[in-house]
Amino acid sequence: MGASMNLKELRTMSMKPLHVNPLKLSQPMGATLAFLGIKNCMPLMHGAQGCASFTKVLFTRHFNDPIAIQTTAVNDITAVIDGGDKGISEAVENITKKVTPDLVGLFTTGMTETKGDDIKGATLLLKEKQKMVYVHTPDFEGGLESGWSLSVQNIITQLIEPTTQVKKDKVLLIPNVNFSPIEVEKLKEALELLDLVVFALPDLSDSLDGHLGVKQGALSSGGISVSDIEKLGDAGAVITIGRSVKKCGELFYEKFPQSTHLHFDSLIGLEASDDFYAKVFEFLQCKSVPSVVKRWRARLQDVLLDTHFTLGKAKILIADEPDSAYAMSKALREAGSTCEAYIAQRSEIQEAFTCKMQIGDFEEVEKRLPEMDMLIANYHGERLAHKHHKALLIRGFPNYEQVGIGLRYNILYEGSCAFLCEVNNLLAHH
C-alpha cells in the first residue's frame, strides 16, 4: 500500500465522528460466511451472544435459509477473569454434545480482541478433541470482505497439508465474499468446461444456494469438505477473484510455489471476462475455445450495444463492499455510464477505481443521490430511492426484500449480459 495509499485514505475518509446509517458490516460476519462454505462446519463466534445472534438473524433473512452458528457467550464474569480458553472449551464441549462437526471455525469479535484472548492457545488445548481453525477478526477493524479473506488465509495456513506434488488440472478457486452462491457454481462450471477439476474455498454454492435438503441440520449443510481442503496443496493453480482475497492466493503460492497464482479484480463486463479467459487459456495453453463461451461473448457484445443508449446517459451511485462496487462500476462504465461509489471499508481496490469513490455511510449516499439516476445498494437503499424517486438495484448484504438472490448471477459473459440488461430495464421503466 505504502505512502500513496495513506494520502488517498486521508482524502477519502469521512471525518465525521460517527456513522449515520452505516454501510459497513463486520469482520466476524465475513468470517461466519467463510466457514459456512465448509461442509459440516460450525462457525463459533468468540464474543457476547448478541454478536452471533445479530449475524444469524441477518444472514437468515438474507438467504432465507437456516444459518449454523454458535457463540462462546462471554458474560460479565468471564469477560473479566477468563483468558478465553474456558469459554471456548465449554462452547466446544456443548457443541460436540449434540453434533459432530468436521471443523469448528473459531473467530473473535471486538470485545474478545479488547480483552486480548489467546485463541491460538485455546485451540491448541482442544486439539485432541476437535479440529479447529482460529482467526482474529476484531470488528473495530476491516469489514465483511477482510473477515472473509482473513478466514480463508487462516484455513490455508492451518489446514492444508504440506506437499510438493502438483496436479496441473486441479484448481483452487477463491471467490470474494460478494459472490452469490450460484455465481460460485457458474464459475466452477466455466472452469470445468475447460477440463479442470475445481475446488472452491469457501464454497457457498451448495450450502447457501437455497435448496430443499432432506432435513435441517445444526451444522453447515454443504460446501467444500475438510478432507478436500487438507489435500488442496497439489492444486496446479489458485485463482483469486477480488482484491480482498488476492492475499489468500499469494499466501497459497508462498506455501506451494509449484502452483500458479492467477488473480482477477473483477469478473463483470467484457474486459474483465476477456481478461479471465485470456489468462486461463494462457495457463492451460488452450487452443480450442468452447463454442458456448464464444456465443456468450458475442451476446454480451450485442447487449453492450443495445444497452448503451440508456446506460450511456445514466448517472449511477453505487454503495457496496469495495470489490463488488469496483466490479459493477467497471462494467457499467463499459456501457458509458457515469458512476460514483461509496464503499463500506478501506481496501486495496481503492487505487483501481476509475470513477469517483469514497468510504462512507448512507447519510453521505443520500447527499449525493438527488443528482443521480439510480442507486445500487443493499436493501437499506430502498427507503432512500423511494424518497428521492430514483431507480434502485438491490445488491450486497443484507437484502431482506427480494427472493431468489442466491440464484442470481452477474459474472463472466453470460452474467454480465443479465446485469447490464437488468440495470437498463430498471432505468428505462423507472
Binding site: K16, P17, L18, H19, V20, N21, P22, K24, L25, S26, P28, M29, L44, A48, Q49, G50, C51, A52, S53, F54, T55, K56, V57, T60, R61, P66, Q70, T71, T72, A73, V74, N75, D76, A79, G87, I88, E90, A91, V92, E93, N94, I95, K98, T109, G110, M111, T114, K115, P138, D139, F140, E141, L212, G213, K215, Q216, H380, R383, P398, Y400
Partner: protein, 439 residues
C-alpha cells in the same frame, strides 16, 4: 437487579435471568434488548457507542411503526464507529463529538446513548460525557448501560426500563391529570399492533399518557408518573420498571395480552376493573360487545375453511399461549403447543389453553402430527422440514411478520394467513418424490 421479586420463578431459583451457555445459545444480547425497548421513540436519536457491528446489522430491521410527524429516527442508525485508535486512547472524545454532530444536524428531542461490550471494557466514562453534553445542549441525553455481555435480551430490556425511569420519568408535569390515564409498557407497535387496540381504549374513556415505547414520545414518557395505572403488554422484562413505579409513584400495574378475541376482551376488563369505576366498566362492556359482534361478522367468511382444523404450535415465550388463544378464537383446535422456550408462568398459562404442552419438538412434533391428524403447523423456520415431510400446511410465526395479529382487527389477519396456508398446494407439492425416485 438479578433478583426480581415480582418474577414468580424467583421462589424456586436464586438468579432470575439465566446466564447464557457457551456453545448452546441462540438469543440476542442485553444491548439488543435495550435497543428493542427504546428504539420506537421516533423523536429521539439512538446512538450506539461501539464498533459498527453492534448497529451495522440491526438498524432498519424492525417494523415498529410511529405516527410522529418529525424526522422518524426509528429506521435510522447512529454509531460512533469505535476503531482501534479509540480503543487505545479512549472513546469519550469521539462520543462527545458525535453528540455535538447529532444535536447540530438532527435537532432531536433527546439522545439515548447505548453502551456496548467494547466501550464498557475500555472504561469510557459515558455517564460523564452524557451529563456534560446534556448541560451544554439542554436536551435529555440518557446513557443506557447494557453492554451485550451482561446477559440476555430480557435483561437488556429491564436495564433500558431502569434508564428511562431514572433519567426521564417524572421530569415534566402535565397541564391536567386524567382520571383514567394509563402507561402502555412493553408494546413496541411492531406492524402497528398497538393501533389495533389503542382507539378502543380511548373510546371507552381511557387516556394513554405514555408508552414504553411503541409510537412513544419523549415528552409523554417524562409525564408517565402522572398515570393512574401501568399496563404491561406481553413483556415480563419490564415488570421491574412497573414495580419500581409502584413503589415510587404508587401506580399499580396489570399484565395483559391483546392476542385473540378472549384475551383482548379480558385485557380491556382488567384495565377498567383496576380503575373500579362503575361507569367505565359498563361502557367497556358495551364496546366489547360491539367489537366482538363486528369481529364475528368479519370472521364469518373464514369459518367454513377453518372449522375443525387442527393445529400444532411451536414458538417461544408468551406466544406459546397467546397465539394458541387467538387460533382457538378463529375456530381452530390447537392440539398441542411447545413450551421449550417458555417461562414457568407461560407454561402454566399455556396448559390452561391447550390440552398438550410439550418440550422436545424434534421428537414429539412429528408424533403428535400423526396421532392427531394435524392440518397445520405454526412454528419457526426450523420446523418447515417437519411440515413438508408430513405434507401439512405451515405458517412461520417467528419470522418478522408483515401484518399485525393484535387485538380484534389483527385476528382477521391471522385467519386470512392461516387460510392461505391451508389452501396453498405448495406444501403437498414440494414434498412430492422426484420422477427418478419413483419405483
Amino acid at each position: 437487579m438479578l433478583n426480581e421479586s415480582a418474577c414468580s420463578h424467583n421462589k424456586t431459583k436464586k438468579s432470575s435471568c439465566d446466564k447464557p451457555k457457551p456453545g448452546a445459545t441462540s438469543g440476542g444480547c442485553a444491548f439488543e434488548g435495550a435497543q428493542i425497548s427504546l428504539f420506537p421513540y421516533a423523536d429521539a436519536v439512538h446512538l450506539v457507542h461501539g464498533p459498527d457491528t453492534c448497529l451495522g446489522a440491526s438498524w432498519e430491521t424492525r417494523a415498529t411503526l410511529t405516527s410522529y410527524e418529525g424526522e422518524n429516527n426509528t429506521p435510522l442508525g447512529y454509531c460512533t464507529n469505535v476503531t482501534t485508535q479509540d480503543i487505545i486512547f479512549g472513546g469519550d472524545k469521539k462520543l462527545a463529538e458525535a453528540l455535538a454532530y447529532i444535536v447540530e444536524h438532527k435537532k432531536p428531542k433527546a439522545i439515548f446513548v447505548y453502551e456496548t461490550c467494547v466501550t464498557a471494557m475500555i472504561g469510557d466514562n459515558i455517564d460523564f460525557t452524557c451529563k456534560t453534553a446534556e448541560e451544554l445542549f439542554h436536551i435529555p441525553i440518557v446513557p443506557v448501560h447494557s453492554p451485550g455481555f451482561v446477559g440476555s435480551k430480557n435483561l437488556g430490556s429491564r436495564l433500558a426500563g431502569e434508564a428511562v425511569l431514572d433519567a426521564l420519568v417524572g421530569t415534566r408535569e402535565p397541564e391536567s391529570i386524567h382520571p383514567f390515564g394509563i402507561n402502555l409498557i412493553g408494546d413496541y407497535n411492531v406492524t402497528g399492533d398497538m393501533w389495533q387496540y389503542k382507539p378502543i381504549l380511548e373510546r371507552i374513556g381511557i387516556k394513554v399518557i405514555s408508552s414504553l415505547s411503541g409510537d412513544g414520545r419523549l415528552e409523554q414518557i417524562q409525564m408517565a408518573h402522572t398515570a393512574k395505572l401501568n399496563v404491561i403488554v406481553c413483556a415480563k422484562s419490564l415488570v421491574t420498571l412497573c414495580r419500581k413505579m409502584q413503589e415510587r409513584y404508587n401506580i399499580p400495574y396489570v399484565s395483559v395480552s391483546f392476542y385473540g378475541k378472549r384475551d383482548t376482551s379480558n385485557a380491556i376488563r382488567s384495565i377498567v376493573n383496576a380503575f373500579g369505576d362503575a361507569e367505565l366498566i359498563t361502557k367497556a362492556e358495551v364496546i366489547i360487545a360491539e367489537e366482538e359482534a363486528k369481529l364475528a361478522e368479519r370472521l364469518k367468511p373464514y369459518h367454513l375453511m377453518l372449522k375443525g382444523k387442527k393445529a400444532i404450535l411451536n414458538t417461544g415465550g408468551n406466544k406459546s399461549w397467546s397465539i394458541a388463544s387467538a387460533l382457538q378464537d378463529i375456530g381452530i383446535e390447537v392440539v398441542a403447543t411447545c413450551v421449550q422456550k417458555a417461562t414457568e408462568e407461560d407454561v402454566a398459562i399455556a396448559s390452561e389453553y391447550v390440552p398438550i404442552v410439550f418440550k422436545n419438538p424434534g421428537v414429539e412434533q412429528p408424533k403428535l402430527i400423526d396421532e392427531h391428524k394435524v392440518d397445520i403447523l405454526l412454528a419457526g423456520g426450523r420446523s418447515l422440514y417437519t411440515a413438508i415431510k408430513k405434507r401439512i400446511a405451515f405458517v412461520d410465526v417467528n419470522q418478522e411478520k408483515k401484518v399485525s395479529y393484535g387485538a380484534y382487527g389483527g385476528l382477521e389477519n391471522l385467519a386470512s394467513d392461516v387460510c392461505s396456508a391451508l389452501a396453498n398446494p405448495v406444501f403437498k407439492l414440494v414434498g412430492k418424490a422426484a420422477p427418478w425416485e419413483l419405483v
